[in-house]
């Protein structure tokens, strides 16, 4: 603990003193733990995760059913060097962008206001930096954009000091089959035996949230795991949206201004932000006391800070748009939970978009109950944020807090119970606790929504459990009556044989009377007694 705190303190202080002389690549080289590369175990898991998430982002977001192939090979067991290969059938990368996409930190196609799995522009680059630090080996990339007649090959490293790509080799091949997508291979130092469990969990969780994907994973021991597509439908594509005035900080505003060609503040407000029309812009500028004709580029640093706080205060902006969000949707969640956990019951809830600190978000909750889920003392929690599974730091997560303060008894769940709860937070900005993206902070709005979603889903579960209980009750009654029927019928037949009643007739009559008594429709009765056998050993 103490050591961790010290590290964190170091990470927080160091940049202030030395950032000028340190490139982003260099920064991550020195502070790998921020990106989740603390040790060989975590690094192997983190590397797989970053590459798989890039692969998924290159496919489903663009309307392509993902076919993802992943392999981890032990290239040097003594040194614990592992080669990770990830191949997707996504949109590919235009060849001239490849060096920057892989070789420069903070160059990202995702650095926009659209929900995607990766957000920090780190992903693959952190892997490359880590590879260079541990094995010194470069990354190899094959890629072909959609419709490309050629497949492009790159072998590159990052010049860490200068935060620039270092292309070691490149090549081009014919693409007669019209393949598109990206295949990357990279060798890092890892610890498979320790990371094994987590990596398997990661694939399982990823498959739950992406039942529309085919995922094949070959591990260093040659085991192959295949998650087949069980849903032939993709979630809706997220759209790119302009930022919301409540969601920008001074740094972002400065960038927005510098990129803008607007000549006046009025123009700037209307063009840059979502949901801000001329009227709203005028009302705001008057409220903020800023002349609408002012050239935004002439705003001083202090003006910008003031503008940000005024924007935060102003209540008349339209709420942020949720168009940029891509929830999984109940169908994906239910299909995923059903095909992987094989429960007897699933339900999923997608809440309406809400806003926290100017960022739109959607909360989703899925519950899987019974079946092959083993009963446990607390619910199995499957956390997701922007479709990626979160595996570390469960107890620090807001979802854990909500689950553990939930009144399960009200919903007929008593522990140990065979229950799994999936939570998904979709947002243009998920409030992660750290860049490792493993736990979500407790924003009150998100917490409230999680609770509401959980209640909504749990109500459905309760309905199911109630129905099941009634059915079991009916079944128990039927089983009880049926198992005693032979003795009753035989006894009456023996005592009343002088009246010429047959045992089989009495049985039939008892069955008729029983159905009448239970008041069940014939079908349901037949369903409940199916497979019931009774015999008496005298």
């Amino acid at each position: 603990m103490a050591r961790q705190r010290a590290q964190r303190a170091k990470a927080a202080e160091a940049p202030r003193e030395t950032f000028k002389s340190m490139s982003p690549s260099e920064f991550f080289y020195h502070y790998k733990e921020i990106a989740g590369f603390d040790n060989p175990t975590k690094a192997l898991y983190q590397a797989v995760r970053e590459l798989v998430e890039n692969a998924l982002d290159a496919t489903d977001v663009h309307g392509i059913f993902p076919d993802i192939f992943v392999s981890i090979e032990a290239v040097d067991r003594e040194e614990s060097f592992y080669r990770i290969t990830v191949e997707d059938n996504g949109i590919g990368i235009p060849p001239n962008n490849v060096p920057s996409a892989f070789g420069r930190v903070f160059f990202s196609s995702k650095y926009k206001l659209r929900q995607a799995r990766g957000r920090f522009g780190l992903g693959a680059k952190a892997v490359i930096i880590y590879a260079q630090a541990t094995t010194g080996r470069p990354i190899e990339v094959y890629t072909a954009p959609i419709g490309s007649r050629r497949v492009y090959y790159f072998k590159l490293k990052i010049d860490i000091q200068r935060n620039e790509p270092l292309v070691l080799a490149r090549g081009e091949f014919e693409n007669p089959s019209g393949w598109h997508g990206t295949r990357v291979s990279i060798t890092i130092k890892g610890d498979w035996s320790r990371a094994r469990h987590r990596i398997y969990t990661y694939f399982q969780r990823t498959a739950i949230a992406a039942p529309y994907a085919n995922i094949v994973f070959v591990d260093p021991d040659g085991n192959v795991v295949v998650y087949r597509r069980t849903l032939n439908k993709l979630p809706p594509k997220p759209r790119e949206v302009k930022p919301h005035p409540h969601g920008v900080d001074a740094e972002m505003l400065k960038q927005l201004i510098s990129r803008s060609n607007a000549k006046t503040m009025l123009e700037f407000m209307v063009e840059t932000f979502q949901g801000v029309g001329k009227k709203t812009a005028e009302a705001f500028l008057e409220y903020a006391g800023i002349p609408k004709d002012l050239d935004p580029h002439r705003l001083s640093e202090r003006d910008i800070v003031r503008l940000v706080s005024k924007m935060r205060e102003f209540r008349k902006f339209r709420p942020p748009s949720a168009d940029a969000l891509s929830p999984l949707g109940p169908e994906v969640i239910e299909t995923g939970l059903r095909s992987i956990l094989k429960p007897e019951f699933v339900v999923a809830v997608t809440r309406r978009p809400k806003v926290y600190e100017g960022h739109p978000f959607i909360v989703e909750v899925g519950i899987a109950y019974g079946g092959e889920i083993p009963p446990q003392e607390e619910p199995m929690l499957l956390r997701y944020a922007n479709k990626i599974p979160l595996l570390y730091d469960e107890r620090a997560d807001v979802a854990w807090k909500v689950l553990h303060s939930f009144d399960w008894k009200t919903y007929m769940v008593t522990f140990p119970a065979p229950i799994a709860v999936l939570t998904h937070i979709a947002s243009t900005k998920v409030p992660y606790k750290a860049a490792g993206k493993e736990s979500v902070a407790e924003a009150p709005e998100i917490e409230q929504e999680l609770r509401n979603a959980l209640r909504e889903a749990a109500r459905k579960l309760r309905e199911y459990l109630l129905k099941k209980k009634r059915e079991e009750e009916a079944k128990r009654r039927i089983v009880t009556f049926m198992k005693y029927t032979p003795e009753v019928a035989k006894s009456l037949a023996v005592i009343l044989k002088s009246y010429g009643v047959k045992e089989s007739d009495i049985r039939e009559m008892l069955l008729t009377a029983m159905k009448k008594r239970l008041g069940l429709p014939e079908e349901e009765f037949a369903k409940l007694v199916e497979g019931l056998e009774v015999s008496v050993e005298e």
């Binding site: 009880t480 009753v488 006894s491 009559m509 009377a513 056998e533």
Partner: protein, 389 residues
């Protein structure tokens, strides 16, 4: 089995019982035929449904009934057990058998094997312990109004009798005055006994078998013209029914001799008014005229209130008296609540007991001298009417 060996009285009893069974269960069949939930109506065999009839001085089964339905989750098994037991008894009656209650337990102990719709296989016995099947037999008794003796169900013989009388049982004439040192074991079906001739003035029932034997050896019964009986502890049904018939049919007064403690008192009470668990039989088993001859508290301590002198000297009391245990005290307080122990004489008995916290066994009197018991204590008490009724 040769038909000729079967007693005519037994045959008649069987015919009657079989017909009662047919009538009772015909109703159940009709309910089923009508598509109803089949049920049996049974008088409740509970303490709350046990009533003390002060006029007739009997413990009787009250009017409360229990409806036992088949299609009721909590009653289904009991319903099945009742029918099963009825069938086994019915079959035994038909086959001229004399099952014991233990036989009935084994004959009806079947295993129901069933596979639930889910596929799980279960086994369940129709009943597990004899306690369960015994309770079902009692249910059949109240349901049919037939006592087990009337259904030719046997139980272990416990009671014994000697005296100057002749009876017919199973076609044989038995002289109860010619039993040697032994005694006639009272059969489980005393209603099938025929009284031929009797030369006796009263019936003396002794709780303790050992005291019975001693009195028999000195031929007390011949000298005092008594029918001597022992219940060997808590009386079984056959002994109670036999005593009742001697009293009712032959008009012989009945005297009961027990230990001087709450358990002895309760044995007397069972003879006289019936027991709580078997209250449905009281009308046939109880002997309301039975008298408690002793050993009473006033026999031990005397009674300054009535001027009665004790039979024991100070010295003898010191030797024979046993200190009452907590359980005895507790039982005495329970008896105080029973209506039939609330007569002045019984109140006085319990009062002295609780005051002295002392009890005494009958054997104390034989220790003082068998002759004392036979020639002084018993005749004197009977002559002077020193008993409790």
């Amino acid at each position: 089995m040769a038909e000729s060996y079967i007693d005519q009285a037994d045959k008649e009893a069987r015919k009657r019982a079989l017909e009662v069974f047919r009538q009772r269960f015909r109703e159940v069949l009709e309910q089923i035929r009508r598509g109803e939930n089949p049920f049996l109506m049974l008088p409740k065999r509970t303490l709350s449904n046990t009533i003390y009839d002060e006029r007739r001085k009997l413990l009787l089964l009250g009017p409360e009934k229990l409806k036992r339905s088949f299609f009721d989750l909590h009653e289904a098994k009991k319903f099945m057990q009742t029918l099963l037991m009825a069938r086994i008894i019915f079959e035994a009656l038909e086959r001229d058998e004399y099952p014991t209650i233990r036989d009935l337990y084994y004959r009806g102990k079947h295993t129901i094997v069933y596979r639930e719709p889910g596929g799980r296989r279960h086994e369940e016995n129709t009943w597990d312990e004899q306690r369960e099947s015994d309770a079902v037999i009692r249910d059949i008794e109240v349901l049919t109004g037939l006592l087990r003796e009337e259904m030719l169900i046997l139980s272990k013989e416990k009671g014994k009798v000697v005296g100057d009388m002749r009876i017919r049982s199973g076609g044989d004439v038995i002289d109860l005055s010619k039993m040697g040192h032994g005694a006639y074991a009272i059969e489980p079906t005393p209603d099938l006994i025929e009284f031929l001739d009797v030369n006796a003035e009263y019936v003396l029932v002794v709780e303790k078998d050992a005291v019975f034997q001693q009195l028999h050896r000195i031929k007390y019964w011949r000298q005092h013209k008594a029918i001597l009986i022992t219940s060997a502890g808590q009386p079984d049904r056959a002994t109670r029914r036999f005593v009742r018939r001697l009293n009712e049919e032959l008009g012989l007064p009945v005297y009961i001799l027990t230990d001087a403690d709450p358990y002895g008192w309760y044995i007397y009470s069972v003879f006289k008014i019936g027991s709580i668990t078997l209250s449905y039989e009281s009308e046939r088993l109880a002997t309301p005229q039975a008298r408690f001859i002793g050993v009473s508290m006033t026999d031990i301590f005397g009674d300054p209130k009535s001027g009665k002198k004790p039979y024991l000297t100070e010295q003898e009391r010191r030797n024979y008296i046993i200190k009452a245990k907590d359980a005895d005290i507790k039982r005495a307080y329970e008896l105080m609540n029973y209506l039939w122990f609330q007569t002045p004489k019984w109140k006085r008995e319990i009062e002295i007991f609780l005051d002295k916290k002392a009890k005494l066994e009958i054997e104390a009197l034989t220790s003082k001298g068998l002759r004392f018991l036979a020639d002084k204590y018993l005749p004197e008490k009977i002559e002077t009417g020193d008993w409790i009724e």
